[in-house]
Structures are given as C-alpha cells and as structure tokens.
C-alpha cells in the first residue's frame, strides 16, 4: 500500500488541522476536566498522525520514533493527570473546572 503516493500530503495536513481544532474546541467547550483531558489526547493524536505522514513522505524513520515518544509522554501524563483529578474530586466533590478557579480555600 503506497498511500502516500496516491494521496497528497496536503490531505493529511488538512485532516490533522481539523482534528487539532476539534481538540481545541473541546478544551474551550466543556467544563468537565475529564473531557478536557480527552480533548488534549485528541490534539496529541492529530500531531502524531501528521508526524507519521511526513515520516512516510520523507522516508525517514525518525518521525515514527518521535510518535513513539509522544505516546510515552501521553501515557505518563494521563496517569498523573487522572490521579490529580481523583484527588480533586475527593476534595471538592466534582470534576468541574469552574470550581477550581482559586488556589486558596
């Protein structure tokens, strides 16, 4: 399958831009912190997709190794982030980010 030869790289750039903007919209749109986390994952995946597309385009495996490292960081980020969320839920009784607008009290 030589998709990168039959489909222009422009299409992948557009697809990644749309997915990234959906992620940005999710971060701005929702108040539930878990959904915001999921939108951040969506943004990371949009960038990953573009990295793989360009790695295929330039015939360079370094792009795919980079995607591997992005996945590593995303996994660590989710583990710590969800632990913080559970702690926030224990203290405030909700995962609403508008409740967390002050650091004191």
């Amino acid at each position: 399958m030589n998709t990168i030869q039959s489909i222009h790289i422009n299409h992948y750039i557009l697809l990644s831009a749309v997915l990234f903007c959906i992620g940005v919209m999710g971060v701005l749109f929702r108040r539930n912190a878990i959904i915001i986390f999921m939108s951040v994952e969506l943004m990371l995946n949009a960038v990953n997709l573009l990295l793989v597309a360009f790695s295929s385009y330039w015939n360079d495996p370094a792009g795919q190794v980079f995607v591997f490292f992005v996945m590593v960081v995303a996994a660590a980020e989710v583990a710590v982030g969800l632990a913080i969320l559970v702690m926030i839920y224990r203290n405030t009784g909700s995962t609403d980010i508008d409740v967390l607008n002050k650091l004191k009290n």
């Binding site: 903007c21 701005l28 878990i34 959904i35 999921m38 939108s39 190794v65 702690m87």
Partner: protein, 165 residues
C-alpha cells in the same frame, strides 16, 4: 481503493472527534474517542507504519481509555451531574476553534505544490527497522523515558494516597 479508505477513515475520525466534544454523557465520549483512535490506527496502517498502528491500539485503546473509563465509573459521573458552560461561552469556543482552523489552513496553503515522493520504503514501519533506529540513534531518550515513567508512577501513587504523613 486506498483513496476511498482514506476518506472513510478521515470522515470517521472527524465525526467521532466531534461527537467526543458534543456528547453529554462522559462514558459515550470515551467510547467515541476509542472509535477515533481506531480510525487513526487505520491511517497508520495505510501509511506503512504497522508497528505504530499496533502500539497505538494497545496503548491508547487498551490502556489509556480503560483508565479514563475506570475513573469515570469510580467518580460516578453521568449525564445528570455533567456541568455545562453557558451558550455564549460555547458559541465563543466554536468561533475561536473555527478561526484557528482558518489560520492553520491559510498558513499551510503552499503545501499543495509539494511533489509526490519518488521512492517509498514499505518496510520502514516494521519493528526491525524502527528498533534499529530506536536503539542506536535514540537510545538516551529511550532510557530517559523509563525514568519519566518511574517518576509518573511514584507521582500517581503519592497523589492517590488518602493521607500523606
């Protein structure tokens, strides 16, 4: 054939990505995000990145989304307890995301003149080739990633403890 597959997977990814944001129930959002991740894994296979496709399904659909589902079910979040922003803020969010898309597309407008690649190495995404690159050129970052995971694990356990002395 692959062109139709590309358009189908792109449509699926964008539609389910939108549903993640617009769906009221957090559990349904997680399920839509899993479909999006499978569509992206399909894209990886089309791009000859077989190893990454498998790792993507295992790490994202298998580990991260299960973690999300566990937390949502532990915290007992559902449609009734879901907080919502006012319609004005929602409208502003859609407008700003749309404007960002316009800016991105406009900034990347010259890319349609890029030539198609002449040579293709179909075996590049296999474990054999990626492993060679990962353990020669990127050995230090790989080892640092293990340190990052250790720190993340210690941090998650510390945060999860009920009372820290």
């Amino acid at each position: 054939m692959t062109i139709y597959l590309f358009y189908f997977l792109s449509f699926l990814a964008i539609l389910c990505g939108l549903m993640v944001v617009l769906e009221k129930n957090p559990v349904h959002s997680v399920l839509y995000l899993i479909i999006t991740f499978f569509a992206i894994a399909g894209h990886y296979i089309l791009l000859n990145a077989q190893f990454l496709a498998v790792v993507h399904v295992i790490v994202y659909a298998g580990a991260i989304m299960v973690l999300f589902l566990f937390v949502i079910m532990l915290l007992n979040l559902n449609k009734e307890t879901e907080p919502h922003k006012t319609n004005l803020v929602k409208f502003a969010a859609v407008i700003s995301a749309g404007l960002l898309l316009v800016v991105l597309v406009a900034a990347l407008r010259g890319t349609e003149s890029l030539p198609s690649p002449s040579t293709i190495n179909a075996d590049m995404g296999l474990v054999k080739n990626l492993g060679k690159v990962l353990f020669n050129q990127f050995l230090l970052p790989f080892e640092t990633a293990s340190l990052l995971f250790l720190a993340a694990m210690v941090g998650a356990v510390m945060l999860g403890k009920r009372d820290i002395k």
